[in-house]
């Protein structure tokens, strides 16, 4: 018998609410959202902290349990956001000449390219769980979505994310246990990067800071480049800048971000301390920066808690399909 069935009664009325489940660096958030005028609106949220990645299944159930205690009607439609764990991401620019330049790019063409990239990009034993076009160029015109555009020369920046099969099995078990209809499993940092790119921040390091872990997302030339988790958080604050150094050093000098935008994994992560620490880092000496990059710790959305940016971004992804 599924003990959660009684917590998840089938909704009888039509509702536009949907569920966002986000596995963060140290806690799971389950929230109900609905579409708003300018952006998704959070109805209610439940949270559960976890100490090790092995406990995420239980933490997810408990977060949804907490949510169900407040709101009995848990929507079936859901999106799942994931962070950390054994994850690898890559962005591959696929360039090709279109056979019929006079016809507009359609979703089938995009899906075909994504399929080819996903099939060609092997990271055994990891499995692909998410792929999308992060940005595109059609005859040198840069766009975020190529669908509907005509042209001959197409370059699609294809973002592909992989995870360990054991972790994907846990997500499948969770979806089955809760009888959810999940429209996609998305790396949370990818969803956040899409919000940030809308603010015209094209070259940046988005750094999600947790208590024990952090996760960096490199944005370069208007699209996400790579997501890189590492095992240092505010509990090892004095070493955090080395993690940032390790990530940024992956980019060529001229492509290194001039902005580092911080956001917390949990409410009690003090970003000001992190910003102070990063400001004191010898940028010129270690990473050949001419000037200290701008370190931003302000909220991306003024009336949304900083630690809720991840679930807001996922809700946005859900609505944008």
């Amino acid at each position: 018998m599924n003990p959660f069935k009684k917590l998840l009664p089938h909704s009888k009325g039509k509702s536009n609410n949907f569920l966002v489940v986000e596995i963060g660096l140290g806690r799971v958030t389950a929230a109900i959202y609905k579409a708003g005028d300018s952006r998704p609106v959070q109805v209610v949220a439940g949270r559960k902290n976890f100490s090790t990645y092995e406990n995420i299944f239980e933490a997810c159930l408990q977060a949804i349990d907490a949510l169900a205690a407040i709101n009995e009607n848990i929507p079936r439609k859901a999106i799942l956001g994931v962070s950390d764990g054994i994850m690898r991401t890559t962005t591959t620019v696929a360039s090709y000449s279109r056979p019929n330049p006079s016809e507009a790019v359609d979703t089938q063409e995009v899906e075909k390219v994504l399929e080819q990239i996903a099939a060609a990009t092997k990271a055994e034993p990891l499995k692909v769980f998410f792929s999308t076009v992060a940005s595109a160029k059609i005859d040198e015109a840069s766009v975020t979505n190529p669908v509907g555009l005509k042209g001959e020369k197409a370059s699609l920046a294809c973002f592909v994310a992989f995870k360990a099969p054991e972790e994907l099995a846990v997500f499948d078990k969770l979806i089955e246990e809760l009888e959810l209809s999940v429209n996609k499993v998305v790396p949370t940092s990818f969803a956040v990067s899409r919000l940030v790119l809308k603010k015209n921040l094209n070259d940046a390091l988005l750094l999600r800071v947790g208590k024990e872990k952090s996760e960096g997302a490199l944005l370069s030339e208007g699209h996400i480049y790579e997501i890189l988790p590492f095992d240092l958080g505010v509990s090892g604050l004095s070493y955090l800048s080395i993690g940032v150094e390790a990530i940024i050093s992956l980019l060529e000098k001229e492509k290194r971000p001039q902005t580092i935008w911080l956001y917390p994994d949990e409410d009690d992560v003090d970003l000001k301390l992190v910003a102070e620490k990063l400001s004191a880092f010898p940028w010129q000496e270690k990473l050949s920066y001419q000037e200290v990059p701008q370190i931003v710790s302000e909220a991306l959305e003024s009336d949304v808690a900083e630690a809720d940016i991840g679930i807001l971004a996922l809700a946005n992804e859900f609505l944008e399909g």
């Binding site: 109805v43 000449s97 360990a164």
Partner: protein, 495 residues
Amino acid sequence: MKLEFGAETKLNEILEKIQSSTESRLDVEIPQDSLLLANSVNKEIIKRFAMDVGKEVNFTSIPAEIPISDELGFVEGQDVATLDSQSPAEAPLPQIAPQEEVAEGKKFVALKIPNLTGLRKIPKLWWATGGVVATLVAAFFIFAWWLPAAEVVLTYEGQTKDSSSEIEVIVGGAFDESKKQIPATTEELIKNDLATAKATGKKNVGNPAKGRITVYNYSESDRVFTKGTIVTSTKGVTFTLDDERSATASAGFGTFTQVGVNVTATKSGPEGNLPAQTNFTVGSASPGEVYAKNDTPFTGGSIKTITVVSEADRKSLKTDLVKKLTEAATEEIRTNNASAIIPEDGVEISVSKETYDAEIGQEASEVSLSLEVTAKAIVLKAEDLIAILTKTMTIPAGFRVSESESTTSATLTKKTTDSNYQLQGKIGAVLVPDVDLNEVKKNLSAKTTGAAKSYLDSLEGIKGYTIKLKPSFYSGIGWLPFSTSKIDVRLEKEE
């Protein structure tokens, strides 16, 4: 020098060890199954940090990591359809919580069959004798061991006792019966919800009437009328001058000078909309010397009552929502700790987030509150409470307190410090005979019914008993079974 770490070691602990090491060349050994080095950013961090502190590290026994940055062979400008499949990460990854499926039943071994041909040499008579003996042994076993069964019901007189006592609770402390001190743990839970209520506050808003008056000066001295001077209509409606004006002295009796000035009613409302030719006194001047009159009607005075959010609305909304969340949190904590005791008033609620969608005084038909509370509960072990409370009462000889049937309650009476509390504990103790049923079984096995009765008569707390032997013909034999597994002993309260 070798630095060895466990699979659960945190990255900052490794960095601390490297920093505190006195050697300049270090071999860092981390188990193959460590998740830490499955991510090569972590490895890069270790290398860079070691370099920063003037040391060189060499990794041993680590898994080959997943490369962290490459383009997987794709080249911008190259047609992907022409590329072969690629395998960038050949190295195996450590497993997350691997589940081993090793069951004993799945182990197979080759069996050796013994040579039994020697048995053919045994004489047939021996076989027949052996068969009879075996049959007799089996019959005896069935008759004396397997077949008989006994059902023994011990009855007792039900007793209950109530008791209460002051008990000290120490979070993280130890059990101390002599000091009536029990340990406790705390459990925290965060709950949030959104609630909406109708706004009930009322506020008058409107505009004051405005107009222009002409001030007549009949006095033989110059007069200055400062801004804000009060002018009062014959019906008592008051206005103030919008600007300063002065009127020169009159030329003599019966003559006057005049000056025009704008005025605004001191209060909002339609009563300031006065008709033309209304007379006014100006400040404290005598109407015989100075008075004023409007040539055109005053207009614009209006007032209306609007609904606003009041402080009481927000307070009431918060009180109701805190109560709702408190009940939900308490219920959940109780559910999560079904076998433990949470004292009455033992759940401390603090509001961690509170956001209203309308300010006090803001016009609105309703106000919403998004609230998050943190509930912190004191959790006690029922057996600790029972152990202390049991000592405060006198228990008749041969009886004990049944933990499963007794009821306990506790009410927090005082918070001494952040981790010390006083509580009033109560117990409705159900007393049952203090007999070990297994011991009774052992003492009854292979006894005659007479000896069994003598033994049962000697048990304290037992008021009566019945012994039933099965099959019924064993009653005539008068022996209880040899096997304790065939004797069923149970306690029953006397009706």
